[in-house]
Amino acid sequence: MASVTTDTPMHSSPAPRRKISQQAIAPWLFLLPAFLFFATYVLYPIIQSFYISLYEWNGLYSPQYRGIDGFTDQQCLDLGNRAGREPGCELTGDTVWNAEYVGMENYRNLYTDPFFWTSLKNNVIWLLLYFLAIPAGLMISLFLNQKVVGMRLYKSLFFFPFVLSQVVVGLVFSWFMLPGADEGLLNVILGWFGAGPVNILGNNSTATYGIIAAGLWPQTAYCMILYLTGLNAVDPEQIEAARLDGAKGPKMLWYVVLPQLWPATFIAIVVTVIGALRSFDLITIMTNGGPGFYNTSVLAFYMYDVALSEFGFRMGYGSAIAVILFLIMMVYIAGFLWKMWRDEKV
C-alpha cells in the first residue's frame, strides 16, 4: 500500500469526477427499491413455481421434532407426522417444508387429465373469439368518430363497461342471461321475437360462449377507445388526397386508414391476448367452472381450483398448470418484447 500513484493528475478538480461517479451510481439507487419489491414478489415466485411443480405438496409446513428419552433426532424425523404421537419426540418450534419430490409426474398426470384438456381447449376458444373485440371496437369507433353535440358523453358511455370490475360485469351478465322465460332480459327480448327461452349458462355446449360474450363487452370498449385515439391521429391530408382519387368507404378504410391505425391495432392485439389468457374472474362469478365438472374452465381457473379447492390443496399440480400457462403466455410476451427491442434500435 505504499504506492500512491494514480492515473489522474493531482491538479484536476474533483468536481467532474464526482459528477461522473454520481451518474454511474444514481440509476442503481433509483432502481433499487422497486427492484427489491419486484424480485421478491414477481421474479423469485416465477422460479419457485417451476420448482414447486416438481413436488407433491399440500401447501402445509409440518412441525419439526427432536428426540428425547433415548430417541435420536433422526428417528423422530423418520416418523414424519407420526412423531407427534410418540413420547420420545418433542416439538422444536421449527417447521419444515412438507413436500415430496415427484419429478415430472405432475406434468405426466396433466397429460391424462381430461379437465386439463377441457381447460386448454376453452383457452383456445377464448383466444379465438376474444379477437372479435378488435373489429367490433373498430366498428364502434368509426361509428362514433363524428363531431356532433354530446359526442364526448357518448364516447365515455360507450367506454363505460371497461371501467366496471369484471365481477360486476359477470353479475350483470348472469342476470341478463337468467334462464326463465321472463327472468333474464335476454329471454324477454327473445320472447318478443317468438324465440327462446334459452339457458345459456346452464348448458354445457353454450356456457363458455355466454361467458366470452360477457368478456367481449368491456374488451370491445377498450379496443374502441384505442381506435378512437388512433383515428384522431390519422393524417387528414392523405384522406383528402385519397378522396380526390375517388377512394371511399371500405376501400379507403382498408388501403388508407387501417395502415395508419397499425399502432392501435398492435396494442389491441396485445391487450386482447393477455385479457383472453387471464380470464378468471368472469368464469368464477358466472359459472364457477360449471355446469358439470370444469366445462367452462380455463387454465387460469383450473389452476386456482386445484391449488385452493376444498378437496385438498394440490399446490404442486396447480403449479404445473401455471407453468404451462406461463409458457404459452411467454410466446406472446417474447414477441412483444422483440417488437419493442426493434423499435428501440431505430
Partner: protein, 283 residues
C-alpha cells in the same frame, strides 16, 4: 377525417345519425340498465316472479341501497378497498417514478434488460405467482390482511408503471437535464426539481389507472384474504352473493355501489385515464 364528417351529408342522414346514437347506446348498455332497474325494485316482485313489471311494492328509490349499507358488511368491504387501493396507488407510482427516471435518463449496461424484465413481469399470468406469493404472505404473517394485498399490488403494478413512466420520460426534452448537469445540479436534485414536476400528467394518468385496476382486482383478493375484516369489495360481493342469494334487488344495489368509485374516478379524470390506456396507440 374518416369516416366523412356527418355535417357534409344530407339532412336526412344527419338526423338519422343523431337518432341512431342514443338507440345504439341503449342497446350497448342494456344489461347494465337492467341492473339499475333491478336495484330500485321491490323485493317481493322477484319472489312473485314479476321480474320486469312494477308490482304493488312500486319502486323503492334508495331503500335497497340503504339496506345494503345497513344490513351487510358492504361498508366495511368498501372501506377495505379504499385502504388497499390508495396506498398501492402512491407506492407503485412513487417506485415507478424512480425506475422510469433511472431507465429513461441514464445509459448504462443492462438498461434495456432491466426494462424488459419489468415489462415481461407485468404480463405474466397471475397463476404462476399464486402459490409462492400466497406462501410468502403467509410466512410474513400477512395472510388475510390488507397489508399483504398492498405489498403485493405495489410490487406487481410497478411493472406496468415502469413501462409507462420510462416511455414518458424518454419523450421529455433531454436538453433540460443536460443543462441542469452543466450547472452542476446533483442527480437527485435533477430528479426532484427538474424531472418530477414535468411528470405530473403521467403521474395523474397512472394514479387513475392504478386506482381502477386495484379497486377492480378480484383474483388476488380471493387468494390473499378471506374475512370481511380485510376483503375488498370485489371479493366481498361474492360473500354478499351468498348472504342475499336470489335477492336480486339487493345484489344489484350492492354491485352498483361497488362500481361507483372507479366510475366516478373515470368521469372526473377522463382525459388522464384515456391518455394512460392508449399510450402508444398513435405512435
Amino acid at each position: 377525417m374518416f369516416p366523412r364528417p356527418i355535417e357534409q351529408s344530407s339532412p336526412a342522414l344527419r338526423i338519422g345519425y343523431q337518432l341512431l346514437l342514443p338507440f345504439m347506446l341503449l342497446v350497448w348498455l342494456i344489461p347494465l340498465l337492467a341492473v339499475m332497474f333491478f336495484s330500485i325494485k321491490a323485493g317481493e316482485d322477484f319472489t312473485q316472479g314479476n321480474y320486469w313489471g312494477i308490482g304493488e311494492g312500486g319502486l323503492q328509490g334508495f331503500a335497497n341501497y340503504w339496506m345494503v349499507f345497513a344490513e351487510s358488511d358492504m361498508p366495511r368491504y368498501l372501506w377495505n378497498s379504499v385502504v388497499i387501493t390508495v396506498p398501492t396507488m402512491f407506492g407503485a407510482v412513487a417506485l415507478s417514478c424512480m425506475t422510469g427516471f433511472a431507465l429513461g435518463v441514464y445509459r448504462f449496461k443492462g438498461n434495456l434488460l432491466i426494462f424488459f424484465m419489468f415489462v415481461a413481469g407485468n404480463f405474466v399470468p397471475f397463476q404462476i405467482l399464486m402459490v409462492p406469493v400466497r406462501d410468502l404472505t403467509d410466512q410474513m404473517g400477512l395472510y388475510d390482511t390488507r397489508m399483504g394485498l398492498i405489498l403485493f399490488h405495489i410490487a406487481f403494478q410497478t411493472g406496468f408503471c415502469t413501462l409507462f413512466m420510462r416511455n414518458f420520460i424518454r419523450a421529455l426534452p433531454r436538453e433540460l437535464i443536460e443543462a441542469a448537469r452543466v450547472e452542476g445540479v446533483s442527480e437527485y436534485r435533477i430528479f426532484w426539481y427538474v424531472v418530477l414536476p414535468l411528470m405530473r400528467p403521467a403521474i395523474a394518468a397512472l394514479c387513475v389507472l392504478i386506482f381502477t385496476f386495484i379497486w377492480n382486482d378480484f383474483f388476488w383478493a380471493v387468494v390473499l384474504t378471506q374475512s370481511p375484516e380485510s376483503q375488498p369489495v370485489t371479493a366481498g360481493i361474492t360473500a354478499f352473493n351468498a348472504q342475499f342469494r336470489a335477492m336480486y334487488h339487493l345484489m344489484s344495489a350492492g354491485s352498483i355501489v361497488a362500481a361507483i368509485p372507479p366510475v366516478a374516478m373515470f368521469f372526473l379524470m377522463q382525459k388522464h385515464f384515456i391518455a394512460g390506456l392508449t399510450l402508444g396507440a398513435v405512435k
